[in-house]
Symmetry: C4
Subunit: 348 residues, 4 copies
């Protein structure tokens, strides 16, 4: 076997012509953005970071345009539980999810929210999903919509909740658009928006302006395109995400092999956990649950996004090791959150 080797110091390069398909890449001091771009996937093999002997105090003081989410960063975000804490200390999350045929998305998001540590979790679902949710997640309380098939209205007093996650499996019916609009109007804590909530947002531009500050949007590339338009390449998409995060005063979590997190403050983070076994229906619902749970527990939105994306990917990596990339399913990611949190708490 012949291996190709590339020493690659360049940064913002999107391959669009001839390039070496490198089995191994040597680079200096830190990851380069180029390695993280989907468009470059075929050309980027195993990356080896070479220490070029920079002064230890040099790097941490740099303000990079983008940052790789690493264990040090996560260790600095993670808040261990106070011994005397009670469930009130960990907030009350509401998950708004599901429609007829897609109740499973609500199950996954709710389970993940409970497993990620929220003090209390309520899930709002269409009436036909009532028994499904109560049986699948006895730890959660259920708020049933008056409508059997669709989400139309939340009767609960929203001020009881510290965070909301909306979107998995909700479809895009007119009634559900009204529910989303009411939620954005009345709820003034950060909201996690995913899936069909993003599709509604893309179709109803006025809603975009109603997002509570520091809300978190979690589009995959197609949803991103629907929301913000086409871009020429990955780098252009990243720049657009940065711009939109500032404009909307919201976080944008652009899901992919290396999920990008763009903050309202203009920072870029790339996540380095996760694997192709998570490329399956349900993985995104789990992320929505985790993010909502962390917000309810009083992590701020940037912390929640960085920590949530990291621990979601880490749990996915543990699941892949246990069940293989092919056979692992979204429920496995949830069940591996325990091991993931244990690894995080060992970082300290």
């Amino acid at each position: 076997m012949r291996l190709s080797l590339l020493i690659f110091p360049a940064d913002n390069v999107v391959v669009n012509g001839i390039a070496v398909k490198a089995d191994h890449i040597l680079t200096f001091q830190c990851y380069k953005l180029s390695f993280l771009l989907p468009a470059n996937a075929a050309y980027v093999g195993q990356v080896h970071v070479l220490d070029i002997g920079l002064h230890k105090k040099f790097e941490p003081n740099l303000t990079a345009a983008y940052e790789l989410v690493d264990e040090n960063l996560i260790a600095s975000i993670y808040q261990p539980r106070n011994r005397f804490a009670h469930k009130g200390n960990f907030g009350h999350a509401i998950i708004i999810a599901g429609s007829y045929g897609k109740a499973g998305a609500a199950v996954l998001a709710t389970k993940a929210c409970v497993r990620a540590g929220a003090g209390l979790t309520t899930v709002h679902i269409p009436r036909s999903a009532y028994a499904i949710l109560q049986a699948a997640v006895p730890e959660a309380m259920v708020s049933s919509d008056a409508n059997s098939y669709l989400l139309t209205k939340i009767e609960e007093d929203l001020s009881r909740f510290n965070a909301a996650g909306v979107g998995p499996g909700i479809a895009t019916a007119a009634e559900t658009k009204i529910l989303l609009k009411e939620l954005l109007k009345q709820f003034n804590q950060p909201i996690v928006l995913d899936a069909d909530a993003l599709n509604i947002l893309a179709a109803e531009n006025e809603l975009m302006r109603m997002l509570p500050a520091n809300s978190i949007l979690t589009p995959h590339p197609k949803e991103f395109e629907r929301l913000f338009g086409k871009t020429e390449n990955d780098l252009a998409r990243f720049q657009l995400a940065k711009q939109k995060a500032k404009d909307l005063n919201a976080l944008i979590v652009l899901k992919g092999h290396h999920t990008l997190i763009a903050t309202p403050g203009g920072k870029f983070y790339f996540n380095n956990t996760g694997n192709a076994g998570m490329a399956k229906g349900g993985s995104g619902d789990v992320l929505t649950g985790i993010l909502t749970s962390l917000l309810a527990q009083n992590y701020d939105s940037v912390e929640a996004a960085l920590f949530g994306v990291y621990v979601h990917g880490l749990a996915g990596d543990i699941a892949a090791k246990k069940f293989s990339r092919e056979a692992m399913i979204a429920t496995d990611i949830i069940e591996c959150l325990g091991e993931a949190f244990k690894l995080v708490s060992d970082l300290q």
Copy 2:
């Protein structure tokens, strides 16, 4: 890292001014009450008990105002199963729990009751929760209320049951108050009262006087306040619990990091198992199930309260080790009861 060290012999101290935040505390011979108070949490690090060489026969003969529930006490309470026993020997428990949207509380309490060893378990739930309960806990029998959403009336012959647990998720509707009143009237074995049953009690003082002797109330601090009024500090709350336990001829299990058990006989016990991972919706429902199960198995109320709170916390500690404090859920506590009982039986 600089560690602060405190040698701390004082007992009934509630910090309300300046105090050392001790990383390590050295104390003589036994735990001091001060270490167990939530108000002192920020000042109490790891406690080291120093043996000051008291005569071995001295301590056990002391009648302390309060006692720490330890392994010796639990070993003396635990009754191993007689080889020739049949299910009749372990009693028939009834769990009365759930309302529309909170059927999960009934699932958790019932599962815990079954797992804690009751010979037979029946659960009374609102009609809409019927299939949920039968699917989740096939070992239990289900008594469905005529009402789909609320508990209104138990049709079962109550004399068949050796113990009852009431409260998880029942809400506080007028109809449910009537059910609770009827239960207190007709049932003359100890009852475990939790959650909304306590809230009903707080609102209907006449019910308080109808409690069967040696019933067990399991309020968390807010429910305690609703029941018995505000107190100035932790110590005052403990004293009030002691007074009320005597007045009501009932046990009061005041839930918290170190759960307090106050007996009608005027004794105080502090539990030392459990952790902040249990600070989540559902943990209390599990405790209700365990306590009811132990009463059905013929443990007396003091034994049931001490043993139940201990084994609940121990199972929670095992769950935290397996799944982390963040990710552990109430169902995990139930699933870890087996390992907890094995540890208890090894104490002998």
Copy 3:
């Protein structure tokens, strides 16, 4: 600690006066019946069987009045699966179980039947239990009664089934008595009768005479009493079981710490697996499922009874080791059947 020691050669003794409470009992060559009697429980400690050097060929040729089911006997019964076998070789079992509030009994019996190896399993339940059964045991087919709450009529063609198990949770309504009568009329393979099927039999003596040859009745002592009347002591009850097994041309499995199996051929077997952790609602339903499954797989009734009771107890012992006697539940027994079968197949 002082230990009492007893050398005890006597056989048919029921303690009803003064007796030594022996911590250790030494006996010659084999177990004595006296050790197996519930009435003697308090007096029988750990039993040590002493080899008195009988000729190896002597014992196997003895025709004992009763026999202890041991590993050799089980190894001789167990039929390993032929490599080329298909599901048709392992028969089609029907479980008839459940009523409103007791659908769990049907779940447990059906799961056990599937796990014990039947080629196909159908369960007949009241209509309200339809979704419960399909969700809990996807491997089984469901035959729903026209009645939501009770069993009234089986529409299936009974000739498709190789064995039937009836009773767990069926209650004793008049309509269900009719169903049982029809079953006994039309089905000419051995039937396992348990729980309320036995209670119906006890109330309707004419049904007793309709039992297909080599059916298996699995009463606990109270059900036995309802069926066949009171007896003075354990030995008298055993003798009555023997008599009734002959009269009815059926097997009687008298459940207890050492379950007794009386055959139509006049033989007595005592089982020696199982433990007090099985003294809980649901254990009997599991036994019904196992026995029906073995009959469907073409074990004859005596083999099925001996093997089924043995493997049920063995799975219970494994469950007790994993989960403790207190916390183990009927579902655990089912889940441990795999390990139990592996131990059995290793006997060969």
Copy 4:
């Protein structure tokens, strides 16, 4: 113990007279077809393949009339997941399964499809199975038929799906025949047909001619007979399968101890994984799910059939080791798919 030993070079022999029952068989270089025939089962013990020193390059160049599916073949088929893949890369599968009383078949096929790695899975079921499916497989989306009991019409836009699997538990009602006909008309990707879909095909010959190219039929011997008529012996049945695969331009997976795969190109493959513990209701439903999942992931039909049958058997072998041949159930096969895929990925 006396062992019989047979050195057996002959190939196409069906025993129908006197033959040695060999405990051990020695054969040269490779398996002989005779060892794989059910009719020879009683005569074929453990097979030992002796290397006769053929030139290494000789064997791979042979075009055998039949081939044993081995690890090398599987390793050459298996496609590891691209790191940058997203769920769109792994296709959208639709499972069409279930009828009243047989919703479990739909649960098993859907779970298997999800676990075998499809990007998205939708299941079409009769309306009464809605909650069952959503609760059992939250990762899948559910398309409910307008009919509660039977499958009558798929409202979904079929062009969204990359592969379809139809048959488990669907029964053979006239309405369902219409559904199947419509499916064959409108869907132009390969379809996996199993169980009652095959029975419908056997009854409606015109449907047979409508099969999309490279569809996969998975009959067991009786279903095969209904489809294509009786044959004199195993070898004749294999030849008939070969002929029909060509005629129909479809793959025929003839299930048995050594499942045969006949391709439209006139090739024969025998699978060598799997065991008699899979001879139970539900195993076939699992295979349907796996095959459909692999087709959706862009394996071609021959690859999907070879790989799917292999990994199904391998997961079954892992399940047998864990739970015993007797106690293993179809759900266990699904749960062991993870370990099976890990073994496959280690082959490379």
